[in-house]
């Protein structure tokens, strides 16, 4: 791996300080934007050229999203960073907040400049309080140094950023639930349309991006969109942070170019635990369909390759499972998660996630019935695509993925009332 882009301060003792960030060229991009009075269209063009796609899971092209913000809107507009990372397996944003908060601030400031926004919020997952504190400190540091606030770097550009701490609700990662949460309400997703670009935070035009998405911006401005795009592969521009967890010897976050072979990443994570055989991999966070190890070993980590294999790159969170893993038990835990985290607003998700979980739970506990597996799949079809937000899909996909590749194991459980492994 060449020089890291997002983790470029990790070699310092205190990677998170402004001082250290400046040492690696921090805030140069913002300076450039302000000094050259770059046109918003030009910035958006660079971001489009970079091929940057949202790192929050859906992979939406960032430049395009920015262009949706109404240009001549009179009144407040908002910029929101989604650091609510709570999708099992995903923990890359936490390291950005902990180790390079200023890169996020710089990225957001540039985005704010581009979309003429004066106020931003960074919504941080409740459990990583230390990262919240670090982010609060970094914002204060940036404010004092003139990177946030009024007349940023002597220009007439004004932008302030505030951190909002979540408190234990995965669904707040969904962008409209997140907005509700900032508004001091339950985190129940909104029906779209209207989309946040027209009706967002406090009913005002709002753009929401993932932490890693924003953190990728300074590099793109400094080096041009094309250079970022070239780091990756077609349709998956740039570098990406991959969280590798589960049955590996050296779990961790790795910054590699898009398109890096899974095999390479697995090696970086020290290989499968205890030299065991690789059984299965969830390639993009727990919501994405699981893929068998053999398939994964031939795949590259980019949007298209994973999609072709029947799953999604999602957040780039890789959960590795070795041969000792009981797939029923693994699915049981995931199904419990979606059941537990359903906001309760819409019927299919509120009623369906509990039903899914209870069936898988029964199977795991030796009380499965032969018709359960088809029932599970039918329920998944009745949940996915029928809900207000994608949590419904997120609950259905793992079930469908596990059954697609490991149906035999489930059947064995039902028939023998015990585990195959």
């Amino acid at each position: 791996m060449s020089t890291p882009i997002i983790f470029n301060t990790l070699h310092f003792d205190q990677p998170w300080t402004l001082e250290n960030y400046l040492k690696v060229g921090g805030y140069k991009a913002l300076r450039k934007v302000l000094a050259e009075k770059m046109l918003p269209e030009a910035i958006i063009a660079e971001v489009k050229a970079s091929g940057l796609r949202g790192r929050g899971g859906a992979g939406f092209p960032t430049g395009l999203k920015w262009s949706f913000m109404p240009r001549n809107y009179q009144g407040d507009k908002y910029l929101v960073c989604n650091s609510d990372e709570g999708e099992p397996g995903t923990c890359k944003d936490r390291d950005i907040l902990r180790y390079n908060p200023h890169m996020l601030i710089e990225g957001m400031a540039i985005a704010a400049y581009t979309m003429s926004v004066k106020t931003g919020y960074n919504y941080i997952h409740g459990e990583i309080f230390e990262a919240y504190e670090r982010m609060e400190a970094a914002c204060e540091e940036a404010r004092k140094a003139g990177y946030l606030g009024q007349n940023i770097l002597g220009s007439d550009f004004e932008f302030d950023l505030h951190n909002h701490l979540g408190y234990g609700a995965y669904v707040c990662g969904e962008e409209t639930a997140l907005l509700e949460s900032i508004e001091g309400k339950k985190g129940q997703p909104r029906f779209k349309p209207p989309f946040p670009a027209t009706f967002g935070l406090y009913g005002k035009p709002t753009t929401i991006n993932n932490t890693e998405t924003f953190a990728s911006i300074p590099y793109i401005i400094n080096n041009g969109g094309q250079q970022f795009a070239d780091l990756g592969v077609p349709n998956s521009g740039g570098i990406k942070l991959f969280s590798v967890s589960g049955h590996v010897n050296n779990p961790g976050n790795f910054e590699v170019p898009m398109g890096t072979p899974f095999k390479t990443l697995l090696e970086m994570a020290g290989g499968v635990r205890g030299g065991n055989k690789l059984k299965a991999v969830i390639p993009g966070g727990s919501s994405m369909p699981v893929l068998p190890g053999e398939i994964m070993m031939d795949l590259n980590m980019d949007f298209d390759s994973i999609q072709k294999a029947g799953s999604y790159l999602g957040t780039g969170a890789i959960i590795v499972m070795d041969e000792t893993t009981c797939m029923v038990k693994a699915l049981e835990r995931l199904s419990y998660f979606y059941f537990e985290e359903s906001c309760g607003q819409c019927t299919p998700c509120r009623e369906g996630t509990g039903w899914l979980y209870r069936i898988v739970h029964r199977i795991e506990h030796g009380e499965g019935r032969p018709e359960d597996l088809d029932l599970l799949l039918d329920l998944c079809n009745n949940i996915a695509g029928r809900t207000i937000c994608a949590l419904g899909d997120a609950a259905a996909w793992p079930v469908q993925g596990f059954l697609k590749h490991y149906r035999k194991e489930f059947e064995y459980h039902i028939e023998h009332k015990r585990c195959l492994v």
Binding site: P88, G89, C91, E127, I128, F129, L165, Y167, G184, L334
Partner: protein, 165 residues
């Protein structure tokens, strides 16, 4: 009544939001109460509602929606253990067993001396550090081993902060 400290903290949070959007500070307000009292009673919610100027029921909705709020006492030190998939794969069952044995309590329970409470949590967004727990929602302790847990518990019992990052 909300203590002066809590009121000051809420005031600081309120500055983050537009003046006509005071409700945005409700999550933080609930957190401040919990940090001070260990849990949030209905009277506290009523106080917050009055202070912020929002319906009591809306405060209650928020307090019951987000799972890190404690609606009953959960010990001086609440340990919330993530049991989600990455943690499960990384041996959180043993971690839990160790904790249960050591503290003599199960999930959702408090030790007789009121010192420790054990809760199950969902994904904390730190999966590469599995298995893990948080202490009072403040400190996340990861890559737990039996030894490390013993050390943290000893430190907490002695009134310390409990484990380093």
């Amino acid at each position: 009544m909300l203590s002066d400290q809590i009121q000051a903290n809420i005031e600081r949070e309120l500055k983050k939001y537009p003046a006509d959007q005071r409700q945005s500070a409700v999550m933080a307000a609930l957190r401040f109460v919990q940090d001070e009292k260990g849990w949030i009673a209905p009277e506290d919610m009523a106080d917050i509602a009055a202070y912020i100027g929002m319906p009591q029921m809306a405060v209650f909705e928020v307090a019951t929606f987000y799972h890190m709020y404690k609606l009953k006492p959960m010990g001086e030190y609440t340990l919330t253990v993530c049991t989600n998939l990455s943690c499960q794969l990384s041996g959180v069952n043993e971690t839990l067993l160790h904790l249960k044995n050591k503290l003599g309590i199960g999930l959702g329970e408090i030790t007789a001396d009121g010192k420790f409470g054990l809760r199950e949590g969902e994904c904390m967004g730190a999966c590469v550090d599995a298995p893990m727990f948080t202490i009072n929602n403040k400190k996340l302790c990861g890559r737990l081993t039996g030894e490390k847990i013993d050390q943290i518990l000893a430190e907490l019992s002695a009134g310390g902060q409990g484990g380093k990052q």
